[in-house]
């Protein structure tokens, strides 16, 4: 059980997919102008990563190694289609806003990364936890980015106006702004990581 906790923690912090591994950047640029979109996207990715890791770990013994990536892609595609249909049915307006990016979850490197790096070598339960928390790490970063972008770009949080009388930053609504926000976040977290490492070495 201790091990699962460690997996969960490192996936959110030390090995955060976006901030430390620089994966999943494309969707982090595209959908982070509004917090609601980021939340839905993050939950979708978490769902897909967790269940596809779980499934791949379950069937890994049955797959010939040569075609394992092909099978992994099939599994991931299956869950992505579930998310896509779910959003189209129950949240049509958000599904429209996210546009092609839901379908593109399948190309999110985080999912394939977890499948190859972890799920293919570990039993189902740790794989599930690993995938789930990799997704949670992604979700949290997305929310942080969109928090900055939505406040500066629209003056709202989750669509609720903050009642501020201010000038919106047009740039924050556009994808390039995510480059600035992500890179500043990476700058800050890398500085932390370096400091923590130095402390660890001294101790």
């Amino acid at each position: 059980m201790v091990e699962l906790k460690v997996i969960a923690k490192t996936n959110v912090t030390k090995e955060n997919q976006i901030l430390r591994q620089i994966l999943g950047i494309c969707s982090a640029l595209a959908v982070t102008n509004l917090m609601t979109n980021s939340l839905v996207m993050g939950v979708g990715v978490t769902f897909v990563t967790a269940l596809s890791s779980f499934t791949i770990s379950l069937i890994n013994q049955l797959i010939p190694q040569r075609i394992r990536m092909l099978i992994q892609t099939f599994v991931i595609a299956f869950y992505v289609i579930l998310v896509h249909l779910f959003l189209q049915t129950f949240l049509p307006s958000i599904s429209k806003q996210l546009g092609p990016y839901v379908g593109l979850i399948i190309t999110n490197c985080i999912i394939m990364g977890r499948a190859e790096a972890f799920a293919a070598k570990n039993p189902p339960l740790p794989a599930l936890v690993d995938g789930f928390f990799a997704g949670v790490g992604y979700l949290l970063v997305l929310l942080a980015i969109s928090f900055v972008r939505e406040i500066l770009g629209f003056g709202t949080i989750f669509g609720f106006s903050l009642g501020l009388n201010f000038t919106p930053w047009t740039l924050m609504v556009m994808p390039p702004a995510a480059f600035f926000v992500i890179s500043i976040l990476i700058w800050i977290t890398s500085a932390w990581a370096i400091k923590a490492e130095e402390k660890g070495r001294r101790a």
């Binding site: 000038t167 930053w169 047009t170 740039l171 556009m174 600035f180 890179s183 500043i184 500085a191």
Partner: protein, 317 residues
């Protein structure tokens, strides 16, 4: 901690600052003393930002370079006279922290920091940066005894030309009694500054020459082919073309160093500026043009160097 120990003097940069004095005096006459308070605010915030970010890199031996002062002074001249203080502050923070500090500080930045800052606020706050332009004072004592301008107008010579086809007389453009960004008005004063910079060998004459030639060539081409209604001389004198050519394109850090590369770099900038002015929604393109030129500079320099090395090797055989 002595302040003296934390400031790095750079002779070249002092000369640039001297060359800007006439432009500042002239712009106070046009737009009032607010220009100077704006400069003071921008410089204060800029120096603090540079000190903070360089401290992360250099620790206690941190030095604020004189180049940071040049960035602040140039950046202020590119702003519209009516720009709110807080927007100016956002821009200079982006300029020195993201445009310069993030790359590692002085001499490591690939883009001209002043233009990075201006570009950021130009795209973020289009209304404040482009919708309102100050009417200029054109008599004595002009703005020397006033804080700001009394009247706003919606047009600069470039906007008049693009929307109504009205060409401002070249004499006004040359002397600078026209609206626009703080420092870009007077072609005459910019040319005097250019002469001073060239005489003291502070700025590259190759770059200035080729940006201007390329600007002239492409604006003539677009004008005589019927794509543009702005005659070539008008294009060079209006907007920020001359200002950017003299002060921004020649930035020794973000421009290439050898003559051939500088010429190619100049051609790219002149072409991009006129191309953006003619075919895009933006009225002015020189800011983007210099940034585009900056991004090509390392590539041009490397290609030229490799070509030369190859030719030298071939000749030796």
């Amino acid at each position: 901690m002595e302040l003296k120990n934390h400031f790095m003097r750079q002779k070249m940069m002092t000369k640039v600052l001297i060359s800007l004095i006439p432009l500042y005096i002239f712009s106070v006459w046009l737009y009032g003393l607010r220009v100077l308070t704006l400069l003071a605010v921008v410089t204060l915030v800029g120096v603090l930002a540079e000190f903070w970010v360089m401290r992360l890199i250099q620790g206690d031996k941190v030095k604020v370079t004189e180049a940071a002062l040049v960035t602040c002074a140039l950046y202020t001249l590119t702003l519209p006279p009516t720009v709110p203080y807080w927007i100016a502050i956002v821009g200079i923070l982006v300029a020195l922290i993201l445009g310069k500090g993030a790359f590692g500080g002085f001499a490591r930045n690939i883009f001209n920091p002043a233009l990075v800052g201006r570009c950021f606020i130009y795209i973020s706050f289009p209304v404040q940066m482009t919708a309102a332009w100050a009417k200029t004072y054109t008599s004595l004592p002009g703005g020397f005894l006033r804080y700001g301008v009394d009247a706003l107008s919606e047009a600069t010579p470039m906007i008049l030309q693009e929307t109504q086809g009205v060409l401002t007389p070249l004499k006004d453009l040359f002397l600078g009694t026209v609206g626009g960004s703080i420092g870009e008005s007077s072609a005459l004063l910019i040319l005097i500054a250019a002469a001073y910079l060239l005489y003291t060998k502070t700025a590259s004459k190759t770059i200035m020459l080729w940006v201007t030639l390329s600007g002239l060539a492409f604006s003539s081409a677009f004008y005589y082919l019927g794509y543009s209604t702005a005659p070539p001389i008008f294009s060079i004198l209006s907007g920020g073309f001359l200002f950017a050519t003299v002060f921004m394109a020649t930035d020794p850090i973000s421009a290439p160093r050898d003559t051939l590369s500088q010429a190619l770099y100049g051609i790219i900038i002149g072409f991009s500026a006129i191309f953006i002015r003619t075919f895009s929604l933006f009225t002015e393109g020189i800011m983007f043009a210099v940034l585009i030129g900056n991004s090509f500079a390392p590539l041009i320099e490397r290609t030229v160097r490799e070509m030369r090395a190859k030719r030298a090797a071939g000749g030796a055989k």
